[in-house]
Amino acid sequence: MEVGQMQRQWVDYMRSLFMEGFLDDQFLQLQQLQDESNPDFVVEVVSLFYEDSEKLLNDLTKTLDTKGTDFKRVDAHVHQLKGSSSSIGAQRVKNACIAFRNFCEEHNIEECLRCLQQVKQEYCFLKNKLETLFRLEQQIVAAGGSIPMMELSF
C-alpha cells in the first residue's frame, strides 16, 4: 500500500530514536495507551511534558542565576523534570537530570549550570525528534495508514 513506505520510515525512525537513547520502553507504553478512543494520547502527554518542562527549565535558569542559589528548589525542579521525562520515556533527558541532581546535592553551581545546559540541549533534541516523529505519524494517518505499532519489536 501507499502508506507502507511511510510506515517503514516511521519504524526506522522509532528504532533510531531508541538506538540513540532518546527514548526508552516507557514511550512504547505511552503508545500503547493510544487508541481510537484516545487517538492523540501520546501527543497530548508530550505536549504536557513540553509545557511542564519549559516551565521547569525557565524556573531552573532563573533560580541558578540568582545569587545564593536555592539548591533545594533546584533539586525539586530537577526531580520533577526527571519524573516527567522518565514517564514519557525521554531517556536522555532523564539521564541528564540524574547527573544534574548529583551536582545539586554537592551544591556545585558551575556543574549545575553546565547540567542545565545539557538538560536543555537534550530537551531540545528530544523535542525536535518527537516533532518529526509526530509529523510522520500525521502523514501516515493522513495518507490513510495506521501507526505500525506491531512492527515495533525490539
Partner: protein, 1020 residues
C-alpha cells in the same frame, strides 16, 4: 694662399672705389684701408661672419629645445646644418672675391705707380709742377692700360736719367721719389696688413668650423639621450611622407629590417586587421592637419594580436604644406586587455548584482508566499481541531432526543460544519501541494478496483436517479504504480462533481491507455485534448459542486458522508450496494484478458469522467480550475461547495506529471479528462501485496475483481435488491464481517483523519458495506487487515456477540440513523479493542465495553455498574505527566482512578473515601508519600486521625459524614494496600518504604506490566 690673393683683391676693390679721391687725401685713404672692419664691404663680411656665428649659437639653443620636442628635432637639425654650410660657403666665396679685388687693386696700384713716375717725367719736361692733375689722371688712366710694360721699362730708365740729368729739379724729384717710395712702402705695408688680415680671416674660418663638431657632438648626445630614453619604451616612432611611406622609424623591438620599412607604407609592410585602419587614420590626420590619437588593434601575422595607441601629428613644410606625418605608437595590449577584463568583470558584477537582487526578491516573495501558505495551513489546521470538536458534539447532540425544529437546526449546523471542514481540508490539501510538502507515493494498485470502488462509493451516497458506470479498457494493466490515494481523490472528486451537476442520465468513468504521449509533447497533447473538446468545458460548476455541504474533506470521506446522509432516506442502502457489485462482477467475469507489460515501462492512462449534466458555459471555462471560482454565484448558492475541488484536482494531476482538461457542452454534459503516467510493475501479479493476499484468503471473488473492466450501478436496482439478498448474506458472512468491520474501521479512520466526527458516521457505513461484499477492493482496508488476521477465533466469537448486538441496533436504525452510527462505532471499536489486547479478564472487559456503549445511550446504567464493580484506586502523584500516563494506563486496564497531588491531599482523600488501593509517589512537595502513609497507617491502627492533626491536617470536617456512612468508615479501617512509586533515587529506598508501612513499591516510570501485576496482587 688663395685666400691671401683674394684678400688682396678685396683691398684693391676698395681702393678702386675710392680711387677718384685718391690724389687728394691718400693718407686718409690709406688709413681707411687699414680699418677694414669699419667700412662697406668689410663690415658686410664681418656681419656675414657674425651672422653665421649667430645662427649656430641659436641653433644650439634651438637644438636643445628641439631635443625636448623630439618630433621635429631631426629635420630641424638637418636643416640647420645645411644652412650653416651654405653660409660658410658663401663666406668663402665672398672672401675669394675680395681677394680678387685686392690683387687687381695691387696691380692697378703698381701700374699707377709707374704712371705717376712717367707723369713726373712728363711734368718735368713740361714744367708743370701742379699738384692737381685730376683730369689728366683721368686721361692718363685712359691710356694706362695700353702702356704698362713700356712704362715699366721707362720708369727705371727715366729715374736714373732724371736723377742724373736735372739737379735743380733733382731735389724736388728726390723728394717726389721719396714720397712715392713711402707710398710704395705704405702700399706694401698695407698689402702685408691685408695679408695678415687674410690670414686671420682664414684662421677664423678654420676656427669657425669647430661649431660643426660641437653641433654634431650635441646632436650625438641628444641622440644618445633619445636612445636612452627610448631604449626600453614600448613605442614606435616614425615619420611618413605624404604618401604614407616611411621616411624614418624608430622601433625598439624591430621585427623588420630598416630596409624593409623605409620607403614603404603600412599596407605594404603589414597585412591583417587594423593595418588599413591605421593607415586611413594617418591619412585622415594628414588631411585634417590636426594631431589625433587613436587606439587600433592589429591582428597581423607579424606580431600577432596587439593594440596600439597611436598618436599622429601632421608635419608641415616651411611653406605650410603638409609633407607627412609623425606618429608615435605605444603597445597598450596588456592595458587594453586588462581594461577589457575589468569592464567585463564590472559588467559581470553588475549582472550578478542584478541577478542577486532579483533572486533576493524572488526568494523574498517565495518566502513570503510560503509563509503565508504555511500560515494558512497552520491556521486551517488550528481551526480544524476545534471545529471538528464542534461538529462531533453536534453529532452527539443529534443522537439525543430532539424535536423536529431542533433537529432541523442541528442538521443545518452539521452540514455547515461539514462544509467548513471540507473547505479547510481543501485548503490544507492545496497548500500542501503548493508548498511542495505533498509527497507522492508510488505504490502498486489496481486501476479497476479503484474505479469500481470510486463508483461504488459514489453510488452508495447517490441521492439521485443516475446510472453510474465505469469502463476500463482491456489494455490497461491489472496493476500499475502510482499514488493511488491521490488518484482516487481526483477520481472521486470528479465523479462527485459530475453527480452533483447531473440530474438525470449517467455519470461514468472511462479508463484507457493512451498511445505513448511522451509528455515532452505535452503541449501537443494538450492541444489535441482541447481540440477534442468541442464544447469548451467547464466544470467550475462541478468543481464547486463536489464540495457540497454533505461532503467531507477528502473525497472518500465526502462520499462516505454522503452515503450516511442517504442512509436514512433509502431503506437499506448498505445491503443494496453490496449485492449489486458482486452480481456484476460475476456476470462480466472472464471477458477480460490482461496483457502484462514487461519490466517497468511507463504507461499513459487517460481517464475520462463524463456526465450528462448541466454542462459548463464557455465563459466559465477560463476560471474553471481557479481557486474559489464557481461558474456563477447562482451555482454556488444552488450547489454549494467551496470552489477548491477542481483546483485541487488539477494541482494533483499536475503534481503527478499529468494534465487535466475538460470539455463540455452546456445542458449536454461535461467530460473531464486527465492523463497520467504510471509505471507498470515487473511482477505481473498481486502476489507480493500481503493485503491482497489476505483479501484473497477470505474472498473468492477477488480474482474476478482484478480483471473486470466494466461496472455499472443502476439506480433502480438499489432498493429491491437490498431487501432480498442483503440480510441473508449478511448473516452468512457474519464472522468475517466482524473482522472486517473492525479492520475497515481502522482503514477508514485513517483516511478520514481530518474529520473525526464526519468520519464516524461514514466509517460505519463503509465498513459494514465493505464487510459484506467489497472488502477485497478497498486497499486501505486490506492494509489494516494484517493486524486483524491474527485474531483468535474465540475473540471473534466474542466479537460476534457484539456484532449481533449491533445488528439489533441496526434494525432500529431507520428512525435515528446517527445514533446507530455512533453505537456501531462504539461496538466495532470494542471488538477491535478486544481483539487487540489479550486480556486476562475478558469479562471485565466486556463489561467495560458494555459500559461505553451504554454511556452513550444510558448514563444511569453506567453509574450502577461503576459503583458496584469497580475497585476504588487513589493515585497520589504530583507530576502531571505521570498522572496522565498512569491514569490512561489504569483506564486501559479498566480502572478509573482518583488523583491527588500530595501527601496531605492523600490523607484527606482517605478520610473522605474508602479506597481499595493507593498508589503513592514517594517524593512530593508539601507532604511526601512516606509521611502520608505513616498517617494513614496510624489511623488504620488507632481509628483516629491524631497523626494527621499532628501533621497539621486539621480541617477534616466530614468525619461525621463518614461515621454516618458506616460502610465507608469500616472499610477504611481495613488496611489499605499502599504501593509506593519510587524513582529509584537514593532517598527512596525500598526499606524506607516498607518501614513506613508501605506494602510494595513499583519503580517509576510505571508501565502496564508493573501496574497489572500490582493490581492483580492487591485487588481482590
Amino acid at each position: 694662399m688663395v685666400y691671401e690673393m683674394e684678400s688682396d683683391c678685396i683691398e684693391d676693390m676698395e681702393i678702386e672705389a675710392l680711387s677718384s679721391m685718391w690724389p687728394e687725401d691718400i693718407g686718409t685713404e690709406v688709413g681707411r684701408q687699414f680699418n677694414i672692419e669699419r667700412p662697406g664691404r668689410d663690415q658686410d663680411m664681418l656681419e656675414e661672419v657674425t651672422i653665421i656665428d649667430d645662427p649656430t649659437i641659436v641653433d644650439f639653443k634651438r637644438l636643445m629645445e628641439l631635443t625636448n620636442y623630439t618630433d621635429k628635432g631631426s629635420s630641424q637639425l638637418a636643416y640647420l646644418v645645411k644652412h650653416w654650410e651654405y653660409k660658410q660657403a658663401n663666406a668663402v666665396r665672398l672672401l675669394r672675391e675680395e681677394l680678387d679685388h685686392l690683387s687687381k687693386q695691387r696691380q692697378e696700384v703698381e701700374l699707377k705707380k709707374l704712371e705717376i713716375l712717367e707723369e713726373q717725367r712728363f711734368e718735368e719736361e713740361r714744367y708743370a709742377g701742379d699738384k692737381r692733375p685730376v683730369s689728366i689722371l683721368d686721361g692718363v688712366y685712359d691710356i694706362w692700360q695700353a702702356v704698362p710694360h713700356r712704362k715699366n721699362d721707362i720708369v727705371v730708365q727715366s729715374k736714373g736719367i732724371e736723377i742724373d740729368a736735372d739737379y735743380d729739379t733733382v731735389i724736388y724729384w728726390k723728394q717726389q721719389a721719396l714720397h712715392l717710395e713711402k707710398l710704395l712702402e705704405a702700399s706694401v705695408q698695407r698689402e702685408q696688413v691685408l695679408m695678415q688680415k687674410l690670414q686671420e680671416s682664414i684662421q677664423n674660418l678654420e676656427k669657425q668650423s669647430s661649431p660643426v663638431e660641437e653641433l654634431s657632438q650635441i646632436l650625438k648626445r641628444a641622440d644618445n639621450f633619445l636612445h636612452f630614453v627610448l631604449q626600453n619604451a614600448p613605442v614606435v616612432i616614425g615619420h611618413q611622407d605624404e604618401e604614407m611611406r616611411y621616411r624614418f622609424i624608430y622601433n625598439h623591438f624591430p621585427s623588420l629590417h630598416e630596409e624593409d620599412i623605409i620607403g614603404r607604407t603600412d599596407v605594404e609592410i603589414f597585412s591583417g586587421a587594423g593595418v588599413k585602419e591605421s593607415q586611413d587614420f594617418k591619412r585622415e590626420v594628414l588631411e585634417k592637419g590636426l594631431p589625433a590619437k587613436k587606439e587600433i588593434t592589429f591582428e597581423t601575422g607579424l606580431f600577432g594580436s596587439k593594440t596600439f595607441l597611436i598618436h599622429v601629428e601632421p608635419v608641415f613644410s616651411k611653406a605650410g604644406e603638409k609633407i607627412g606625418i609623425n606618429y608615435m605608437g605605444m603597445d597598450v595590449t596588456d592595458q587594453v586587455r586588462r581594461r577589457e577584463r575589468m569592464a567585463k568583470i564590472r559588467e559581470e558584477i553588475a549582472v550578478q548584482k542584478a541577478k542577486e537582487s532579483e533572486l533576493n526578491k524572488t526568494i523574498h516573495i517565495t518566502e513570503e508566499t510560503m509563509r503565508a501558505k504555511q500560515m494558512l495551513a497552520t491556521m486551517s489546521h488550528e481551526i480544524r481541531s476545534p471545529l471538528s470538536g464542534v461538529v462531533s458534539i453536534a453529532e452527539i447532540l443529534s443522537t439525543t432526543k430532539l424535536d423536529q425544529e431542533q433537529r432541523q437546526l442541528l442538521d443545518v449546523m452539521l452540514s455547515s460544519g461539514d462544509l467548513v471542514l471540507q473547505l479547510i481540508n481543501d485548503i490544507l490539501d492545496l497548500s500542501k501541494v503548493e508548498s511542495g510538502v505533498m509527497k507522492l507515493e508510488a505504490t502498486k494498485f489496481r486501476p479497476r478496483q479503484v474505479v469500481k470502488h470510486v463508483l461504488q462509493t459514489a453510488a452508495a451516497s447517490l441521492q439521485k436517479i443516475l446510472t453510474l458506470e465505469g469502463h476500463v479498457a482491456d489494455d490497461v494493466p491489472i496493476e500499475i504504480i502510482g499514488d493511488v490515494l491521490r488518484i482516487r481523490q481526483i477520481l472521486t472528486n470528479l465523479v462527485s462533481n459530475a453527480i452533483k451537476f447531473t440530474h438525470e442520465g449517467k455519470v461514468g468513468i472511462n479508463l484507457y491507455v493512451v498511445p505513448d504521449p511522451s509528455f515532452g509533447n505535452a503541449e501537443g497533447y494538450h492541444q489535441k485534448l482541447i481540440a477534442d473538446q468541442q464544447t469548451i468545458s467547464v466544470n467550475d460548476v462541478k468543481g464547486e459542486k463536489c464540495l457540497s455541504t454533505s461532503q467531507i474533506s477528502s473525497d472518500e470521506n465526502g462520499l462516505d458522508s454522503k452515503k450516511c446522509g442517504e442512509c436514512p432516506r433509502q431503506n437499506h442502502p448498505f445491503n443494496d450496494e453490496s449485492t449489486t457489485p458482486t452480481k456484476n462482477e460475476s456476470s462480466i467475469n472472464g471477458d477480460f484478458e490482461e496483457q502484462l507489460h514487461a519490466a517497468e515501462t511507463t504507461v499513459w492512462i487517460r481517464c475520462d469522467v463524463y456526465d450528462t449534466g448541466i454542462g459548463i458555459p464557455d465563459n466559465a471555462l477560463p476560471t474553471l480550475f481557479k481557486r474559489y471560482m464557481q461558474v456563477s454565484a447562482d451555482h454556488a448558492r444552488k450547489y454549494g461547495g467551496t470552489g477548491l475541488g477542481l483546483a485541487i484536482c488539477k494541482q494533483l494531476v499536475e503534481l503527478m506529471g499529468g494534465r487535466l482538461t475538460v470539455s463540455s457542452k452546456e445542458h449536454r454534459g461535461s467530460t473531464f479528462t486527465f492523463i497520467l503516467p504510471y509505471k507498470v510493475s515487473t511482477t505481473c501479479d498481486h502476489s507480493d501485496d500481503p493485503d491482497e493476499l489476505s483479501d484473497m484468503d477470505n474472498h473468492d471473488d477477488v480474482e474476478d475483481d482484478t480483471n473486470e473492466g466494466f461496472f455499472q450501478f443502476q439506480p433502480r436496482t438499489l432498493g429491491s435488491l437490498f431487501s432480498s439478498n442483503g440480510s441473508a448474506r449478511a448473516t452468512k458472512l457474519l464472522s468475517q464481517n466482524i473482522a472486517y468491520s473492525s479492520s475497515n474501521f481502522r482503514g477508514f479512520s485513517d483516511v478520514a483523519y481530518s474529520l473525526p466526527s464526519g468520519n464516524i458516521r461514514s466509517k460505519e457505513t463503509a465498513s459494514i458495506q465493505d464487510g459484506l461484499s467489497e472488502v477485497d477492493i478497498n486497499p486501505e482496508i486490506a492494509e489494516s487487515e494484517n493486524s486483524v488476521s491474527h485474531i483468535p477465533d474465540q475473540e471473534i466469537e466474542n466479537g460476534v456477540c457484539n456484532y449481533k448486538q449491533l445488528q439489533e441496533n441496526m434494525n432500529c436504525q431507520y428512525q435515528n440513523p446517527s445514533i446507530n452510527c455512533t453505537q456501531l462505532k462504539e461496538a466495532s471499536r470494542e471488538v477491535a479493542v478486544a481483539t487487540k489486547t489479550t486480556e486476562p479478564q475478558p469479562t471485565s472487559q466486556s463489561q467495560e465495553k458494555c459500559d461505553t456503549i451504554s454511556q452513550c445511550v444510558n448514563d444511569s446504567t453506567e453509574e450502577v455498574l461503576k459503583s458496584t464493580l469497580r475497585p476504588r484506586i487513589l493515585l497520589v502523584e504530583d507530576n502531571k505527566i505521570n498522572v496522565m500516563v498512569a491514569k490512561s494506563m489504569m483506564k486501559q486496564l479498566g480502572h478509573s482512578i482518583d488523583v491527588v497531588n500530595n501527601g496531605i491531599e492523600a490523607v484527606r482523600a482517605v478520610q473522605r473515601n474508602s479506597y481499595d488501593l493507593i498508589l503513592m509517589d514517594v517524593c512530593m512537595p508539601i507532604m511526601n508519600g512516606l509521611n502520608a502513609t505513616k498517617i494513614i497507617r496510624s489511623f488504620e491502627e488507632t481509628g483516629n486521625w491524631d497523626a494527621a492533626s499532628e501533621a497539621g491536617i486539621d480541617k477534616f470536617v466530614p468525619e461525621a459524614d463518614s461515621l454516618h456512612n458506616d460502610e465507608g468508615s469500616s472499610l477504611s479501617r481495613k488496611r489499605i494496600p499502599i504501593i509506593a512509586m519510587t524513582a529509584n533515587a537514593l532517598s527512596e529506598s525500598a526499606e524506607e518504604c516498607f518501614a513506613n508501612g508501605m506494602d510494595s513499591f513499583v519503580s517509576k516510570p510505571v508501565n502496564f506490566q508493573k501496574l497489572r501485576q500490582c493490581l492483580e496482587q492487591y485487588l481482590p
